[in-house]
């Protein structure tokens, strides 16, 4: 070894090694001593105690499941409760022949034959001494049928357990979610020991996202059981120390959702495939979160039969699909106020500058005609007017001059093209197109090229651009707050089950949108007020009779592409290929309390279909109950105008 001046001393090293071996021997002997002291303690001193535990009488540890936290609306109205129900449970180690037992339960029609495979897997996944729920929520008649045959089924027992109940049925189901039996996949994400007595777990929405809060802590009690597994009080003279720990109930959740508003919105959408998201722009509280058609979540807690589930999942209107969170739609003209703001901020256009609309737009050097929704054109329009009448030609020009990448970077600040970050899982990002996006989205080189025409139609929210109703509501709230943004949230407070203390979750601000001149906001908000208040505004009927001012924007999203020289003829187009109707709005315009996005699939017209729905929601939230009926009267009568926005 370099630098070493020491030489190897073989004789010394051997002696050193010998000493170490002797030391190791001493340590080993000490360890043997310690081990045998422990074994002596267990096998001789405490032998009788452990013998009692193991032989003849054994201790079974029975879990005591906690009661699940309640879900209440912002005013304390219950949305998810617990209710006692009877369920069938099987303990593998006490069942002589599991297969035969299951087969006989099917014979008695206490178990569905097509459910057998799932039950089998569930039993295998749990430990042999766990009571596995094989059938939830028995009816009275089924209960009686089992009681008669009870002696033939050792190891199977009927147990009263708390089950989940949703008193308002489908109301808010896409926000609240539902619970169902713990599946194999669920086993992966839970602490199995803490779920030893639990049968239901959050599958979707708030029930899933806040599972840790809602579930609580499982308690246990030690039971004395005989060799057959039956509970006994004592045997002989010895009564082993039996302990019991009480379960701790789950925490109650207070939603930001207002059940009354939620129901009003669901009522307004009845019969439609549609979504509404209503947000308090001042703090991000989601006051209504609607996707229709809805479905009754109570079936999931009870355990749906195969046929029931098949009916739900194959329904052509896909009720299980959360349109508010996961539905992506072309935003259509609802994007125009944001494009206008981008034009102001980037210096592309001044508010008072006018552009001439003759009903179509052409890029220089191209023959392709981009048509306005109004065939005859809007004439000379400034920015306010362009928003109020939803002039397409104005925005074709503005966006062509702005360029897609600058548009992308500005609109991204409003949360488009990315998850907004609501507190339940499953949100989709939508698409906010840019040249970089297109390069990443397509495999083929030729498909990656960005065409100028694609920028033109992006200006009116068509083409690649897609957004969820949640994103649209969030962006509208940001306009209402002049750039200030909050993360949307469904849960606003948690009541701790142990202490009873209510913990408010503070609103979470997101990076604000900054513009050079605050007056820019006045221009686009003014345009949106024009939509509902100017004599030529596209949604002027939505304002009639309302004691507050609405700032809104209509939109229509094409599902069906019309050829260059054809005319869009509604009668020819099948119902499901008709345009989607959109409306985004906030009110009161000068003191925003509610921002709303309405999307009605195949609703044809933003102003005719979507805007009246938004009006009903504003009325329900902003007006005292006695005025609501009168206001509703005023809007119903007006007929749909020309087939426009």
């Amino acid at each position: 070894m370099a630098g070493s001046v020491r030489l190897k001393d073989h004789w010394g090293e051997q002696r050193l090694f010998g000493r170490r071996i002797i030391a190791a021997t001493v340590v080993i002997l000490l360890l043997v001593g310690a081990l045998f002291a422990r074994l002596f303690y267990l096998q001789v001193v405490k032998h009788e105690y452990f013998s009692d535990l193991s032989q003849g009488n054994r201790i079974r540890i029975e879990p005591l499941p906690p009661s699940r936290g309640l879900i209440l609306d912002r005013n304390g109205e219950p949305l998810a409760l617990n209710r006692p129900a009877y369920q069938l449970e099987l303990v593998r180690e006490q069942t002589p022949d599991v297969e035969d037992t299951l087969a006989r339960l099917v014979e008695l029609e206490l178990l569905a034959a097509d459910d057998l495979e799932r039950v089998r897997r569930l039993i295998k996944a749990r430990r042999s001494f766990d009571a596995v729920p094989i059938r939830l929520q028995l009816s009275e008649e089924e209960l009686a049928r089992f009681a008669v045959n009870r002696p033939d089924f050792p190891g199977v027992e009927v147990r009263p357990r708390l089950t989940r109940h949703y008193p308002k049925l489908g109301t808010g189901v896409h926000a609240i979610g539902y619970v169902g039996s713990i599946s194999e996949a669920d086993q992966e994400r839970i602490d199995v020991a803490n779920y030893a007595g639990t049968t239901l777990i959050g599958k979707l929405g708030v029930e899933r996202a806040y599972e840790d809060d809602l579930h609580g802590e499982t308690g246990y009690q030690q039971l004395l059981v005989n060799a057959q597994g039956r509970r006994v009080e004592r045997v002989g003279l010895s009564t082993p120390e039996l302990t019991r720990r009480e379960p701790v109930a789950g925490n109650d959740l207070y939603l930001a959702v207002d059940a009354r508003l939620q129901q009003a919105a669901e009522g307004a959408l009845a019969g439609q495939r549609a979504a509404v998201v209503a947000i308090d722009p001042r703090n991000g509280d989601v006051l209504a979160f609607v996707s229709t058609p809805t479905f009754d979540p109570n079936g999931f807690a009870r355990g749906l039969s195969y046929a029931e589930y098949a009916a739900l999942s194959t329904d052509i209107d896909v009720p299980l699909y959360d349109r508010a969170l996961r539905g992506v739609y072309p935003p259509g003209s609802t994007i125009k106020p944001l494009v206008a703001l981008a034009a102001l901020q980037l210096g592309v256009e001044r508010p008072e500058a006018r552009r001439l609309c003759r009903g179509a737009f052409q890029l220089p050097g191209s023959s392709h005609r981009y048509r306005d929704w109004k065939k005859t054109g809007h004439g000379s329009v400034d920015m306010h007017m362009a928003i109020a009448v939803s002039c397409d030609v104005y925005f074709y020009g503005v966006s062509a001059e702005m360029g897609i990448d600058r548009m992308h970077d500005f609109l991204a600040q409003f949360g488009l093209g990315d998850k907004v970050g609501i507190d339940i899982a499953g949100e989709r990002k939508g698409i906010l197109p840019s040249t970089a996006w297109k390069r990443g989205a397509f495999k083929q080189k030729s498909a990656q090229v960005w065409f100028p025409g694609e920028t033109v139609i992006a200006g009116i929210g068509q083409g690649y651009m897609l957004a969820t109703p949640l994103q649209l509501a969030h962006a509208t709230a940001a306009i209402a707050m002049r750039g200030q943004r909050f993360k949307p949230r469904l849960v606003k407070a948690v009541r701790d089950a142990r202490t009873g203390a209510l913990r408010e979750i503070p609103p979470e601000p997101l990076p604000a949108v900054e513009v050079n001149d605050p007056a820019y906001w006045d221009v686009i908000i003014g345009g949106m007020v024009g939509v509902t208040n100017d004599p030529w505004g596209t949604a002027r009927r939505a304002q009639i009779g309302a004691p507050y001012r609405i700032a809104g924007k209509t939109g229509t999203a094409q599902v069906f592409t019309v050829g260059q020289n054809e005319k869009y003829n509604e009668a020819d187009v099948a119902e499901r290929l008709r345009d989607h109707a959109l409306f985004v709005a906030f009110a009161p315009a000068d003191d925003p309390k509610l921002a709303v996005a309405v999307v009605v699939e195949n609703g044809r017209s933003g102003s005719g279909t979507a805007a009246p729905i938004a009006r009903k929601i504003f009325d329900a939230y902003l007006l005292p109950p006695d005025q609501q009926a009168a206001a509703a009267q005023a809007t119903v009568a007006a007929p749909a105008p020309e087939g426009e926005e």
Partner: protein
């Protein structure tokens, strides 16, 4: 100096020439006493396993096949002279580290941890190689350096130990990483690590506990907490400890009799044929059975240390001593865990628990011991 603890078959030239088996053993470079003791432990293990696995003949035969495979590996390794082992040591270590890196990048995830490397035909855990490769590499490095090692040597060794240990801890497999670390540390200790370093390291470790705690996975913390108070979580992590203590305690002095352990046969005792088989012995054979097993183990240890002391050079002494003491560590970690003296870590009872990987590694270790023994110094120095 002459050490007089010689085994049968080697005590005198006359006896050696007389016995046929002695000649066969010598030709195969095997050590009779060690072989006998290992075979005795394996046989006892198979007997216990048959009961622990619920009289499953398939399990019994598979394990018997593994014992056979292990013996084959042992005989094969015994043919390799120590100087070849020494030459191979650094390469084996390097290969082991590379494989660990490969696992970190492409390994399969089994039971929530990334430990297995799939080579098409066989899947194995590179961490298992390290249990032997690390002590070999440490002994190789110390072989021609003056002992006790100086500070620079110690620093190099510390790095050599920490690299694989951290890679394994990251998988995450805390138990194995600590055992691998023990393998390296034992070599250094036997090489004569000065007392001041030992005390200093002890103090450092004590100070590092709160920091380490911070880096542990939830389930690992749970195990430690449950060890401190098993009643805290009787349905989850504490279940193993409680049931294994009931099994051992209810066995008493003489046990409930073979195949009569109610804890094991009524499936109250988890992992009864693998990590917790020690409790099955305690339940069915009692304190007496455990004492017999421990005597067999101690004989293996004594013979191993005898071989180490007889080693012809530094490398032989260090590797033989370290592997023997590592075997002791396995025994005490497993039995301590089952008896409730240590937290639950996934360490099998050596040569007895059901499972193939550890069997092969252990037998390879015994092969090294035998290789060292058959080339021991014949003349006392």
């Amino acid at each position: 100096m002459r050490i007089d603890i010689a085994g049968p078959g080697y005590s005198s030239r006359a006896q050696r020439t007389l016995t046929v088996s002695g000649r066969v053993l010598e030709a195969l470079h095997l050590d009779g006493p060690l072989l006998l003791a290992v075979l005795a432990v394996c046989t006892a293990g198979l007997v216990v396993l048959f009961s622990a696995a619920g009289e499953d003949v398939g399990v019994f035969l598979r394990q018997a096949a593994r014992v056979g495979l292990g013996l084959g590996v042992m005989v094969a390794v015994a043919q390799v002279p120590p100087r070849v082992l020494r030459a191979v040591a650094p390469w084996l270590y390097a290969a082991g580290v590379l494989l660990l890196v490969a696992v970190a990048l492409v390994g399969d995830i089994a039971m929530g941890a990334q430990r297995w490397l799939d080579l098409g035909v066989i899947r194995f855990q590179p961490s298992e190689i390290m249990k032997i490769a690390l002590p070999l590499a440490c002994a190789w490095y110390l072989h021609d350096r003056p002992l006790p090692p100086d500070f620079r040597t110690l620093l190099v060794l510390a790095v050599a130990i920490l690299v694989p240990v951290l890679l394994i801890a990251e998988q995450p497999d805390l138990g194995t990483s600590l055992l691998v670390a023990a393998g390296g540390a034992l070599v250094v200790l036997l090489a004569g690590l000065q007392l001041r370093y030992i005390l200093g390291l002890g103090a450092l470790l004590a100070g590092a506990v709160p920091v380490l705690w911070h880096f542990l996975h939830d389930y690992q913390r749970q195990r430690v907490l449950t060890f401190l108070n098993p009643q805290n979580d009787p349905l989850g992590a504490g279940y193993h400890t409680i049931q294994s203590q009931i099994a051992i305690g209810s066995g008493g002095v003489f046990g409930k009799g073979y195949m009569n352990g109610s804890q094991a046969h009524l499936e109250f005792l988890p992992e009864r044929s693998t990590d917790f088989i020690f409790a099955v012995i305690g339940e069915e054979w009692g304190l007496v059975g455990l004492a017999v097993l421990m005597v067999l183990y101690l004989f293996v240890l004594a013979r191993g240390m005898y071989i180490a002391v007889q080693g012809q050079d530094t490398f032989c002494r260090l590797i033989a001593g370290a592997l023997t003491l590592l075997f002791a560590v396995y025994i005490f970690v497993n039995s301590g865990m089952v008896a409730g003296l240590l937290p639950v870590v996934g360490v099998p009872l050596p040569l007895v628990s059901y499972g193939g990987t550890s069997m092969v590694t252990l037998m390879a270790g015994f092969g090294i011991l035998m290789s060292v023994h058959s080339r021991r110094k014949l003349v006392a120095t």
